[in-house]
């Protein structure tokens, strides 16, 4: 019974992450002149899963989202971006969470900023252009703000869902 519930919630989280990916793809590129760089809305789901179930579960949801987005509306370049961003972001978030120096908000911010960092690093190598690295400045600003909002939302979600999931 407990397993069924877990699987159901996993599917739900994956769907939610997919919807956020799609929503993000629809939005115009806000502050960056480098196409394909995203703010990382699906991070809301990843942060929530990280707090509710742990690193392994968050990695599974993240990977599943990447594969599905790639199959549905991706291309190879966007996939490389997303993979680098998602992997670095999750790794850093898991480490920071373990150190327990920040709340959900701080963890989410490190996730958002490193998500952008991973993407920019890939873009720098992909286009062999160091100049693209300048955009990391603006992305640090937007990433911090996005991470803040996502962290607060994830903390609220966590508070409400934790009870439901443990019953």
């Amino acid at each position: 019974m407990k397993n069924t519930k877990k699987i159901t919630f996993f599917a739900l989280f994956c769907t939610l992450a997919m919807m956020l990916s799609y929503l993000e793809a629809l939005l115009p590129p806000l502050f960056t002149a480098v196409p394909g760089i995203k703010m990382g809305l699906p991070n809301l789901v990843i942060v929530s899963v990280l707090y509710l179930y742990g690193v392994k579960a968050a990695a599974s949801v993240s990977l599943l989202r990447l594969v599905l987005s790639f199959l549905l509306f991706g291309n190879a370049v966007t996939a490389a971006y997303s993979l680098a961003g998602a992997a670095l972001s999750l790794l850093v978030m898991a480490l920071v969470k373990k150190l327990s120096v920040f709340s959900t908000v701080g963890v989410s911010i490190t996730g958002a900023v490193t998500h952008n960092l991973g993407q920019i690093v890939v873009a720098v190598f992909l286009f062999d252009s160091l100049s693209i690295g300048y955009y990391m400045l603006v992305l640090t600003l937007t990433g911090t703000l996005a991470g803040c909002v996502i962290g607060i939302a994830a903390a609220l979600l966590h508070k409400r869902l934790a009870k439901l999931l443990r019953s």
């Binding site: 590129p29 002149a33 480098v34 196409p35 394909g36 291309n75 370049v77 966007t78 327990s100 120096v101 920040f102 709340s103 908000v105 701080g106 911010i109 490190t110 900023v113 873009a123 992909l126 286009f127 062999d128 252009s129 100049s131 693209i132 300048y134 400045l137 603006v138 640090t140 600003l141 990433g143 911090t144 803040c148």
Partner: protein, 130 residues
Amino acid sequence: MTASDTKKRLWRNDLVLIFVLLFVAALGILLAFLFRQEGAYCTLTQNGKEIGRYSLSVDREITVYADAQKTAYNTVRIKDGGVSVLAASCPDKICQNSRAIRYHGETVVCLPHGLVITVYSDEDGLDIVV
């Protein structure tokens, strides 16, 4: 230490993180803005390989193709010391919607066509201007 003390400590750390990140980013942007240099020329690279280098002081339009059939194009315009993409056949049109760039280090990227336009300030690079 009580649970609420821990919570307070985490919140304080969060705030420190937010301020440090915002401060560093804002300072970086400010410095980049203060020390920005007018560009002298721009380079066009396709998939990391340079395909052209043009002075920004001569107005002109350049069309580059990303495929052998010449259906995938970007028309680059140099005007009044700035460079922008006038028209492009890429699906996202992000390059076309980017504003003109004129300062050292600025880039316009067309992801679908692997095209990067970069502005450079130093006049020495003009040796091999086309």
